[in-house]
Symmetry: C2
Subunit: 227 residues, 2 copies
């Protein structure tokens, strides 16, 4: 006990967790899975890889204990092993954003210009939901809304936004949110709403961060999803 070989083995164990995240495609998988569980084909589609390769990466993640599976009918659903993994992913993103100089450029290239001061903070949104002077719109795909969303939010996937615009009250500000800080759906929604003359801003980060901050969430029952 306490010898060099044992210490090396222990720290190799820590490094194994880092290795699990040490690939861009696996990082994308974690980011998607932070939204909720998915099956392999959905995940392959999200990260634009072959099903075989996605399965390979998922096995790597599962081997490190970062994701776990559940079988339903003949589908296998993957999800993050616990909230601590979201912690880890958030910390990783934070360090990346803070210290990796070229990441700013990469983020700008992917996200386009986004004015941080124009985002609504979680605390502000929570207060305004309580006050009732805001419409919260979840612009993620309907299945993600179903598996969990901000309490009181309304589901309008971004591709349906133009059509359902008339149903939104014109005199209150719209706050759109999506998957997280590196998701573009809410940005697109805000741009679209503003072009139509609506007051609109995006929520900082996205749904996983909201849930992780222990702010009110709700999810649809199976019946509601079916209807």
């Amino acid at each position: 006990m306490g010898d060099r070989a044992a210490k090396d083995a222990l720290f190799d164990g820590f490094a194994d967790i880092a290795k699990a995240l040490a690939n861009g495609r696996r990082a994308e998988l974690i980011d998607v899975l932070a939204q909720g569980e998915r099956h392999v084909e959905e995940l392959a589609d999200e990260i634009d890889q072959s099903v075989a390769n996605t399965s390979f990466h998922l096995r790597t993640l599962a081997g490190a204990g970062v994701v776990v599976t559940r079988r339903d009918k003949n589908r296998i659903y993957y999800r993050l092993a616990s909230d601590r993994v979201i912690d880890l992913w958030t910390a990783l993103r934070d360090v990346a954003a803070a210290h990796h100089a070229e990441l700013d450029d990469l983020a700008a290239a992917y996200l386009g210009h986004r004015d941080q001061f124009d985002e609504v903070s979680r605390t502000e949104l929570a207060a305004r939901i309580a006050a009732g002077d805001v419409v919260v719109v979840d612009v993620r795909p309907a299945t993600e809304f179903a598996s969990g969303h901000i309490s009181g939010a309304r589901s309008i996937p971004v591709e349906r936004l133009t059509r359902e615009l008339r149903d939104l009250p014109a005199d209150v500000e719209v706050v759109a949110y999506c998957r997280g800080p590196f998701c573009l759906l809410a940005d697109e929604a805000v741009r679209l709403l503003r072009r139509k003359g609506r007051a609109a801003r995006r929520l900082e980060d996205g749904f996983p961060e909201w849930r992780y901050a222990s702010l009110p969430v709700e999810s649809l029952s199976v019946q509601e999803v079916m209807s």
Copy 2:
């Protein structure tokens, strides 16, 4: 903007940070650097590697922006780029401990049996320091004590403990602490003290976690170190 190539590049950027930690020796380096800054030779010694290889790993870490350097005379000192890196390292350890099944075995092999319920929590220790009914002993090497320690703690490196035992009051409990949950110094100190009939326990985790929790710390001025 918003295309697949840009998204891949962004997430590859996140993965680069994970890659920096995805090696056992680099993980050990981070763990040591969480204590405070060190120069290459010290670090090589801590992780039992050649100076060249240590330098190589440090360059990898620096390239990812996880550590930064400072020159003093003809030594180059490395330190973590910010507290967020400690966050990341802590989250990584937590996920590893929670989900990587074999890690329990590895930790047990390295740490030996350690009774978690026998550790003093940070909040308990903070309260008892305020009440004054405890002696806090920092059993890390003196240089680490000098660069930062729990307020009111006394420095007794573990190899000097037997000699300085008589200076410790016999009627109050001793709480020993060291570098963190995977450091053995405090365990050794507690074993030794108990063999001598003293009431002794170890603090949960170690100094970096205490400091990170914004609990009171102090460090020695250059004059004090010299004396």
